[in-house]
Amino acid sequence: MSAPENDRIARLSAAAQRIRGYALHMGEVQGQGYIGQALGVADILAVAYGDQLRFRPEDPQWEDRDRFLLSIGHYAIALYAALAEAGTIPLEELDSYGSDESRLPMSAMASYTPGVEISGGSLGHGLTVATGMALGLRHLGNPARVFNLLSDGELDEGSTWEAAMACAHHGLDNITAIVDVNALQADGPTAGVLRTEPVLDKWQAFGWHALRVDGNDIAALVSAFDEIADHQGAPSVLICDTRIGCGVPLLMEREKAHFMRVEEHEWQIARTQLEEGSPR
């Protein structure tokens, strides 16, 4: 790898670690939550916000911004961490995560959370709204791109596939779906709840330019995103296999749970493990 490329990876890896740190901090504020998902998706968000998206952190309403739609409202903890890293949300505000009167509720809201494009919480909406934004931007001659982060659980919803078909039909190459395949959903492992594999084949069959990478490998994410940015004529999807709790062995090794319990004394251990840069 070239020296500038190495720098790029190193810079994004450092950002991903900070995003994990902020997420742990918010998890501790609430004493519970979707921390496993946040740690798993941190690398994707670091690359998206630190490398791929055109946006102005101080002006979240800028007309020409690339739109990043979080389908999965419960991943808000991860998005807030990424928006704090990006400079859209002040770091101190993370203290208020999930508290009364906060702009950072456990599920992000388009009406009052800075940098948030859609109101989250009900799954399987994101790609439909992304479709409209992509159609509309193209219609208006605005070159901004639309990204939608969705979860493997959202592949259960018919609406996701309705939108997928529409994106391909309309040739929306300004849209990029990112699917976080952490192999888990609310009632347990995805394979046992509702089989979604083969995920890559499904998207391809729906007419998408589809890639699959290790979603915790920054270099792989960067080159996949670069490839997608150049792809024309069809919508693209980046399927990311991620590890729940990535970067914090304590949470990686624990029984996988959609809503992870973390004891009070464990937060410090988690922080230490993250700072030590424990193997992932």
């Binding site: 519970q32 630190g50 791929q52 946006f55 952190p57 009167e101 509720p105 901004a144 959903q185 009632d187």
Partner: protein, 363 residues
């Protein structure tokens, strides 16, 4: 397509120190695991799941299904006991209700669970046309009805009754507590038609066993009589209404409570019997003021030519905030305190007083 996407923004680099960790204890969003039970209150774990198991022993045609929310709707109790009679549909609520209809079409009696918001907002077309129109014995079970989570508008089913009341032939039940749920489950299965149960899940308060009460589908029950005020209440608000009545009794205000667990069909006879009165009448519901109990009672009175004013205790016609459940119940007027002060204010404003006129209100 633009290729300029690397140029405008580079992530601002920031010190890696997380924000300070010293902070005062804050009320937390009780989120998905919220309980509305008062501290120290008698509760029963997962009454729905256990009642369904018991029923399943007697009725082999009972089946259960969920849309990736078995664990969060107490359906896991049934799933674990009767794995061969439980069908996991994944997170696909339309498919859940369509499948439930199919199961009923071939002679089974399904209980299909998800959150209330998804059963109503997401899958209503399937509920309406596939379940209600053919009049199937499908029992739709919606958890987190009204304001029973602090997670925000996506999960707060503030208008589920309003959506469903217009559905012909659908029976809607809003239970108060574990007793109601335990007795409602077999009644819903026994009734040969479509139903919607507003599920209370987890550690559910147990209050109605202190009263001479049994759940009867379609029937309201007067849990206490009273000369000054009538509270017509449904769902968990009956628990609050009973608490408010006790508090007001200490101020010598005599409060009757009519519990209306079946919202539709409404027991209009019982409603008219208590509301045709010169007492102060309030309705209490865990639902928006639009299209729920208050308007059901109001239309019942108006249609019968009764011109009495009623005072609604209900959620405002707004998207609600996220936050801790007790904070939200206070803010939006569902707490026992709110009922008590509403009653006092209304008594004062209307020049009515309780039995002991002039007694200063003590809060």
């Amino acid at each position: 397509m633009t290729t300029t996407h690397h140029t405008t923004h580079q992530a601002t680099s920031q010190a890696s120190t997380a924000p300070t960790h010293a902070r005062p204890a804050k009320l937390k969003t009780s989120a998905m695991i919220a309980s509305f039970a008062d501290p120290g209150q008698k509760t029963t774990p997962a009454p729905f799941g256990h009642a369904l198991n018991q029923l399943a022993e007697q009725r082999p045609e009972i089946v259960g299904l969920s849309a990736d929310l078995a664990k969060y709707t107490d359906m896991h109790i049934f799933r674990d006991k009767h794995p061969e009679r439980f069908f996991q549909m994944g997170m696909s609520e339309q498919s859940l209700l369509g499948t439930a209809a199919g199961l009923a079409e071939v002679g089974l009696v399904p209980f299909a669970s998800t959150y209330s918001v998804f059963a109503t907002r997401r899958a209503y077309d399937f509920l309406c046309l596939d379940i209600a129109e053919p009049g199937l014995n499908v029992n739709v079970v919606g958890a987190l009805p009204g304001l029973t989570t602090g997670y925000g508008p996506s999960h707060q089913a503030t208008e589920d009754i309003a959506i469903l009341r217009g559905c012909p032939g659908l029976t809607i039940v809003d239970p108060c507590d574990a007793v109601d749920i335990e007795q409602a489950v077999p009644a819903l299965a026994a009734y040969d038609g479509p139903t919607y149960l507003r599920l209370l899940r987890g550690a559910v308060p147990r209050v109605l066993d202190e009263y001479d009460y049994t759940f009867q589908l379609g029937k309201a029950a007067e849990l206490r009589t009273g000369r000054d005020v009538v509270l017509i209440s449904t769902g968990l608000m009956t628990m609050r209404a009973l608490q408010a009545a006790e508090r007001l009794e200490a101020d010598h205000v005599d409060v009757a409570v009519l519990h209306v667990p079946t919202i539709k069909p409404l027991d209009t006879e019982a409603v008219l019997a208590v509301a045709r009165t010169d007492r102060l009448v309030l309705t209490c519901e865990n639902h928006t003021v639009v299209g729920g109990l208050a308007e059901s009672v109001a239309s019942t009175l108006a249609f019968a030519g009764v011109g009495n004013r009623i005072v609604p205790v209900a959620l405002p016609d707004e998207f609600l905030a996220a936050g801790a459940l007790p904070t939200l119940h206070d803010r939006y007027g569902l707490s026992t305190d709110s009922i008590v002060s509403r009653v006092r204010a209304e008594l004062q404003a209307s020049g009515r007083t309780g039995g002991d006129a002039g007694e200063p209100p003590s809060l």
